[in-house]
Amino acid sequence: MFGFFRKSSQTPEPPSEGWWNRLTSGLSHSRTKLTQGLGGLFSRPLDDAWFESMEEALISADVGARTSQTLINDLKREARQQHIKDASELKPLLKTALVNLLQPLERPMDNRAHHPFVILFVGVNGAGKTTTIGKLAQHFQQLGHSVLLAAGDTFRAAAVAQLLEWGERNQVPVITQEKGDSAAVIFDAIHAARARNIDVVLADTAGRLPTQLHLMEEIRKVRRVVTKADPSAPHEVLLVLDAGTGQNALAQVRAFDEAIQLTGLVVTKLDGTARGGMLVTLAGEHPIPIRFIGVGEGLEDLLPFDARSFVDALVE
């Protein structure tokens, strides 16, 4: 678990003592679940049935049938080659395999390279884009950066009001427009941020499914227009992904990456019973850095991703 803290060493000390508690309590739900799922398996005798239950445990955590199969086959081979007879010896092997897969995704965001630093949030409906922006606004403020929000979800009812409220809670300006599309609002916001010498622009967009081709076209346009406001922007394009998502996560990542070149992921709702195993599949099939994970409802429950802690939670 200390891995999460390693990240915060490059950022100021966690401001509230609640930070640590929230993290542990947030992950403990999934931890209990996972212990039942995977941890218990390591104390059973090692045979074919063991490998099968192991594979099923991975599948039940949304790792995906094919990825699980590959992982288990590798594990079997290792066990044979190293003459391992005891299941507990396999634990470090599986952990290493998973960490090796996930570690490349462990790349925190560096928002000091540009000014203003423009972050575009995209994702399917109900993934938690607006909530993530609300939390991140506070995160950046705690780092001493000034923040501006762009209410780019001009489609869903009251989405603008939702962002305005986040702005009010965090005391940060929110750029909205009476009429006008996403692209125009975000364009405005970037200019406003420049004029006000703001450090970070968090741009919301409407939720969209990759099958809604016209909406995918619209998001491409948003990116083009953002580039017009600032040739180096957007500096981050983050896909917000619900941890409860199954194998469709891969389709989502592929479609959004193809449309607007993602730079990172935010995985939300990891505090529920969903285990987020699809991140393992993603790591194998279409790796994109995971910038943050959401482990609770609170404003500060957004943490940098740490592969080791994640894997620990998955197999401990």
Partner: protein, 450 residues
């Protein structure tokens, strides 16, 4: 939706084809493929296990061995079991109670409760002529109450005002009182999203249920949900006496295995499916169609029903007759079809309901939006009735006139006529049998649409 699963099962069927007889071992392979397909489709593992057991038992029985085409028999069994697993058709809502009939919405964050509440209100108002009152008990998420209010006013449905500083239970009771005094038939209660592990929030909705005594308690589930769907469904099912399920975001490309998981765990009917963000995007759930869709038979029935809802029935029947005969399909009909297509939600919505392996590779090219349809309509409108009936009348001079009239180039007119000709051929194929033949025809036709 469910496309990939369809693809996969179609693949299995192909490998089974050409084999004279199903043996224990080749069933094994096919069944493993089916299992894998279901898992990759996010059907929860325990559900898959039970399902495979059922299929295996039936497949190894006599039905298969006596069958002439083993592949078909196996698909039939898988299909049958799928239908069985998915349960009863969504037979709508039970509103038989002393008004107001209360509908309580429950689910995880972001599953689509508020959007579904709005859709449900519209459906009850327009299809059942009910006087509906909406109320939001979501005092947590910023602007959740406003979201429902905006939806309500767009639908012209009453919305009971609430504010984030109130208690959910107090809001609900006040709304119930208001509904009684203002003679509303139905009260739809939207609630905050909650995680199944959040004891306090689960207790809150338990109390809310107790206070309201709803006749319908609907569990709203995201079709993209993974293996966790079983856990969530179990937790909600244990907390609340659910009466049904709404499956949302089915217009996406998620394989939708959550439908099976939730159904299996809650044993409650899936009453509606949510497709799209528009307020009319709520459809009745049909287990047989869903199963057909999974198996690659497409959802032609839904398509027909949808067309009926939007289209003049007489007109549609006339057209169906013509299609049946495979003749007399003229440009007037072509135009009528385009208009209907537009009413039924555009080409993409329709494509979604056709079998996956047939439409495969078409979708990216078929961005035939309303504008393109309008253009074709314009060209046809510029023709005389005689020309519409007999397009072969259109020679160079007439074509020039039509092009000028529609504000397009002569090439556009030519392209339309070519496409029409193909379509005519396709209709003939259709009449001679086989949607698949028709689709092959369509496949060649679509990408070239102006």
């Amino acid at each position: 939706m469910l496309n990939q699963l369809t693809d996969r099962l179609s693949g299995v069927i192909k490998t089974l084809r050409g084999q004279a007889r199903l043996t224990e071992s080749n069933i094994q392979d096919a069944l493993r493929e089916v299992r894998l397909a279901l898992l990759e489709a996010d059907v929860a593992l325990p559900v898959v296990k039970d399902f495979m057991q059922e299929v295996r038992e039936r497949a190894l029985g006599q039905e298969v061995l006596s069958s002439l085409t083993p592949g078909q028999a196996l698909v039939g069994i898988v299909h049958e079991c799928l239908v069985h697993l998915m349960g009863e058709p969504g037979n709508g809502l039970n509103l038989a109670t002393q008004p107001p009939a209360v509908i309580l919405m429950a689910g995880l964050q972001g599953s689509g409760k508020t959007t579904s509440s709005g859709k449900l209100a519209k459906l009850l108002k327009e299809q059942q002529r009910k006087k509906v009152l909406l109320v939001s008990c979501d005092v947590y998420r910023p602007a959740a109450i406003e979201q429902l209010q905006v939806l309500a006013s767009a639908l012209d449905v009453d919305c009971f005002p609430s504010s984030p500083d109130q208690q959910p239970e107090a809001i609900a009771l006040a709304a119930l009182d208001h509904a009684r005094r203002h003679f509303h038939d139905v009260l739809i209660v939207d609630t905050a999203g909650r995680l199944a592990v959040d004891e306090a929030m689960m207790q809150e909705i338990r109390l809310l249920h107790h206070a309201l005594n709803p006749i319908e308690t609907l569990f709203v589930v995201d079709a993209m949900q993974g293996q966790d769907a079983v856990n969530t469904a179990r937790a909600f099912g244990e907390t609340l006496p659910l009466t049904g399920v709404i499956l949302t975001k089915l217009d996406g490309d998620a394989r939708g295995g959550a439908a099976l998981s939730v159904r299996k765990v809650t044993q409650k009917p899936i009453k509606f499916i949510g497709v799209g963000e528009k307020p009319n995007g709520l459809e009745a759930f049909h287990p047989d169609r869903m199963a057909s869709r999974i198996l690659g038979m497409g959802d032609v029935l839904t398509l027909i029903e949808e067309a009926h809802r939007h289209v003049d029935r007489v007109e549609a029947e006339k057209l169906a007759q013509k299609i049946k005969k495979g003749q007399d399909f003229d440009l007037e009909d072509f135009k009528a079809q385009l208009v209907q297509m537009k009413k039924a939600g555009g080409l993409n919505a329709m494509m979604d309901k056709l079998p996956a392996q047939l439409t495969k590779g078409m979708t990216p090219n078929t961005q035939m939006d309303d504008r393109a349809i309008n253009r074709i309509e314009g060209i046809i409108n510029a023709m005389t009735p005689a020309e519409r009936r007999r397009p072969e009348l259109l020679k160079a001079s007439r074509k020039r006139r039509v092009a000028a009239g529609a504000g397009v180039q002569v090439q556009d007119v030519n392209r339309l006529l070519n496409q029409f000709e193909q379509m005519q051929k396709m209709m003939k194929m259709f009449s001679k049998g086989g949607v698949s033949k028709m689709m092959r025809g369509l496949k060649g036709l679509m990408p070239g649409m102006p």
